[in-house]
Amino acid sequence: MPAFMPLSELIARHVPDGSSVALEGFTHLIPFAAGHELIRQRRRELHLIRMTPDLVYDQLIGMGAARRLTFSWGGNPGVGSLHRLRDAVEHSWPRPLELDEHSHAGMAAAWRAGAARLPFGMLRGYAGTDLPAHNPRIRSVRCPYTGEELATVPALNPDVTILHAQRADRAGNVAITGIIGAQREAALAAATLLVTVEELVEELPPAMNGVLLPHFTVTAIAHCPGGAWPSYAQGLYARDNDFYQRWDPIARERASFTAWMERHVLGTTDHQGFLASLRAEHA
């Protein structure tokens, strides 16, 4: 049964420097509060894994927390670049960043293999792209029936996966509704699964065919309302598309980025403080 603890303790106990960490969630339920707590606790040398790095990885990378990035699309969706990711790749600021780069289909196959504890995933993919020339981890296997060559990717099995979810019950079962991306696979692929949730309930209703992570797959849970903002929680609050657009000028320059992070993340002690700090600025 998972342990229940505050987010600060969850990160302090379970995510040491140097960990491979996946904060998954495809646009939806991105665990921003957990990412900010990694920054507050000054984590270093992380191997960050995520299909779509999004703003939360822009922030972690810009604050120097990451050594390596496994990903398949690193932009601000519908807005443009992740400027901190670009600055790290183009100018090694604040430190160099190794890239382990895939297509979505490749990374999805790698997550699935990880969840199944198979050593690799396969797909008909990467044909005609230069990615395999730059990523020696993209290889191939021959079908023992047809002789066809199929692309392969090594399984993803991070030390820690962190998800945000709508709710958990007292037994530690975690329920998710809405777009799930590769959250389920990332959860089951990890050695340690940490979850922040919007709501704690006594007992979840039977999920039937809905998405549920049974308690024995979960290591620890922190109650963290609003923990996905500026991403969203289906049924509870919408994506803050206005903030996603406002992030572009904030992150464009090192100085404005650093000032924002110092004021709102490092200058606050927890996620409620972070949200209050943003409200104060906006008021």
Binding site: P77, S81, S103, H104, W111, G128, W229
Partner: protein, 247 residues
Amino acid sequence: MSDCSRDELMTVAAARLLWDGCVCFVGIGLPGTACNLARLTHAPRLVLIYESGTIGARPAVLPLSIGDGELAATATCVVPLPDIFSDYLQAGRVDVGFLGAAQIDRHGHLNTTVIGPYDHPQVRLPGAGGAPEIAAHARQLFVVMKATPRSFVPALDFHTSAGSPRAVITDFGILRPQPGSGELALAALFPGATVAEARAAVGWPLLVPDTMETVPLPSSHELRTLRELQARTAEAHRRPVALPVQE
């Protein structure tokens, strides 16, 4: 409709490529506007698949990302992302893939990865996302992107996807592959656009046929639908989000 912009002409021309009932994998950016315009005009039964896992979404406003809650709430169903790539795209269930890109070459190959060398990029772009497998597995591929000599290039800095688009919709008109060689050639111009303009915007010697179609202007219904969609969208993306958190 002589007051419509090139952006609007592009979007309407792109939308017209889709047919009612077709299953369309919607790439990030410009394609989303065109696909939803088609759904709201001549193709009400168009099935939109977003890589986030939504099938059959009918959003009232354009999503900013390709995973906004509006997509999940209006979708026929929401499936895990790995299923989208394996059981729908790779399995050949997608009629049309619709992509944008930063660079395209004369064969329609796309670059969304880097400008400059991969290890020392001048500009690091977002990367592949779904593009390589959309280009490979959709039954046909359309591309929509604005043309400049820096985007329509003789040689890509990086091959992200190796599709053979049936049409490239750009801001002077439409390119289509030549039979045989597959080289993209000018196929149609927007009203007001010229061959000289097209040649200037493309970074390789553009093939131009003797006769040239002109893309019909948007109808008032198309244009009004597009503008209303974009107005609703802009309003929605500025709307403050109320968190379920105590003040």
